[in-house]
């Protein structure tokens, strides 16, 4: 099954975004473009507002708008993004009372379209290598397996835009690399925003990498590593760039 047999690529633009929590202005006048069919990675110190930006694009956070402002979040086809972005979080957010298969199928269940059959969900579990665990509850699966179920659930939504908030950060190194490869392969032609703490992860997966820093926060010029993701961990150029990126992150945190 080819999950990329799907929605035409869509680019998302955030313009002049302003979000304040109480008196604290997280960002003001922040611009970012998620290029169509590309992975955009977002790095930055904790608490700088990366997750808030991701939630803003998802429509879970409301931006402040001044008179005369247009929409903060727009898509290349002119329609609103709402309902066309899938979400994957740091924790797997699997419902403990549902089996792996039913968790993958959660979106349809929630939209009241259960009778369409769940052949696709089973195929996606196959795709993430969990065909044999379809009937298992999350509690019996390992952390890596649970995050793979979450990935399958994200794919099941079949949205042109996928927003991921540190989806692999709770996993051990080897499991993380495997899952990065799997995600890069399965989400090849989607427009992806990946928020991460791990410069190497950004360099492996991102077409464009931004560092978010300051208060109110801004994004720097995008870093665009050469070659197609997922790039190899032992690529020498990648390691040089990681040094650079770490330096920029250190500056951002000071």
């Amino acid at each position: 099954m080819a999950p990329s047999a799907a929605p035409p690529p869509l680019s998302v633009t955030v313009r002049a975004a302003r979000v304040a929590h109480g008196s604290e202005v997280l960002f003001d006048g922040l611009d970012v473009t998620l290029a169509a069919g590309r992975w955009t990675c977002l790095l930055g110190p904790s608490g700088v507002g990366k997750s808030t930006l991701l939630r803003l694009i998802l429509g879970l956070e409301t931006p402040e708008r001044r008179d005369g402002d247009g929409e903060t979040v727009t898509c290349s086809d002119g329609s609103p993004l709402s309902g066309r972005a899938a979400f994957m979080a740091q924790t797997d957010l699997l419902l403990p009372w549902l089996t792996a298969l039913d968790n993958v199928d959660l979106g349809r269940r929630l939209r009241g379209a259960e009778d369409e059959g769940n052949g696709d969900a089973q195929a996606l579990l196959d795709r993430v290598g969990l065909a044999a665990n379809a009937g298992d509850r999350p509690a019996t699966l390992s952390g890596g397996m649970r995050q793979r179920v979450a990935l399958a659930r994200t794919l099941m939504e079949d949205r042109p835009v996928v927003l991921m908030d540190e989806p692999f950060s709770a996993l051990d190194a080897i499991t993380r690399i495997r899952l990065q490869n799997l995600a890069a392969e399965l989400l090849r032609d989607r427009t992806v925003l990946l928020v991460t703490h791990d410069p190497l992860e950004a360099l492996r997966l991102g077409h464009r990498i931004h560092v978010m820093a300051g208060r109110p926060a801004l994004l720097d010029e995008a870093l665009e590593p050469a070659g197609m993701p997922p790039r190899n961990v032992d690529d020498r150029k990648l390691l040089e760039m990681q040094g650079d990126l770490l330096r920029r992150l250190a500056e951002a945190s000071s």
Binding site: R55, L58, G59, L60, G83, A85, A86, F87, A89, T91, L93, L95, P96, W97, L106, G107, R109, L110, R111, G112, R137, A139, E157
Partner: protein, 254 residues
Amino acid sequence: MRVWRPLIILTGLIALWQAVVSLSGAPPYILPAPFEVALAWWRRADVIMEHAALTAAEILLGLALGAVFGACSALSMAYFRPARRWLLPVLVISQAVPVFALAPLLVLWFGYGIASKVAMATLIIYFPVTAAFHDGLRRTEPGWLDLARTMNASRASTLRHVRIPAALPALSSGLRVATAVAPIGAVVGEWVGSSAGLGYLMLHANARMQIDVMFAALFTLAVLAVALYFTMDTVLRRAMPWLPDSVPDTDESP
């Protein structure tokens, strides 16, 4: 060992009881010996069982009604904002008035029959069930709600597929408490005014100095309450197999 332990505890308690009777030399109309109580139970078994059946019916009906009303109140408070504003104070007031003080009124309104006792048990059960379930419904993992929103789920569908199942463990704690207090409601109702039931039998026997019969009735009530509690506990456990049990079975010595 697991099977024997309750029996050993029971034997120990009876031995202690016998020791107190023998050592203090208390007359049978103050504290009858275990054997006399057993004999009284055996002689009056038909009467005791008849009254016990009635009390059990009152408890079960009260439990069913209290659980249904409680669950409905909690659900409407979770779903309709005005319901929360209007019902919550009522709930608090209902708890501020001691239910036992209402017993004479309930008997006056609902008569000497079963209805006043069922009303009493229902009132006692209503609060723990409503409070526990409402708490559970309010404390849904926020990540699950975000996920449901990105999946375009309606409020009703989120309630049905996410918030209610997530609140079931809380509801089941409420039901456990309710099961433990339900017999109190029924028996207090019987004490205030009735012509049948274990509570009535106890008062009746007490007035005739048949203390052994009174103890036999009390013992029957205790067995009834314990059996009810363990049945409820087992049913709830079976109904929610995904819940982790933090007290592992394996720490028992074989």
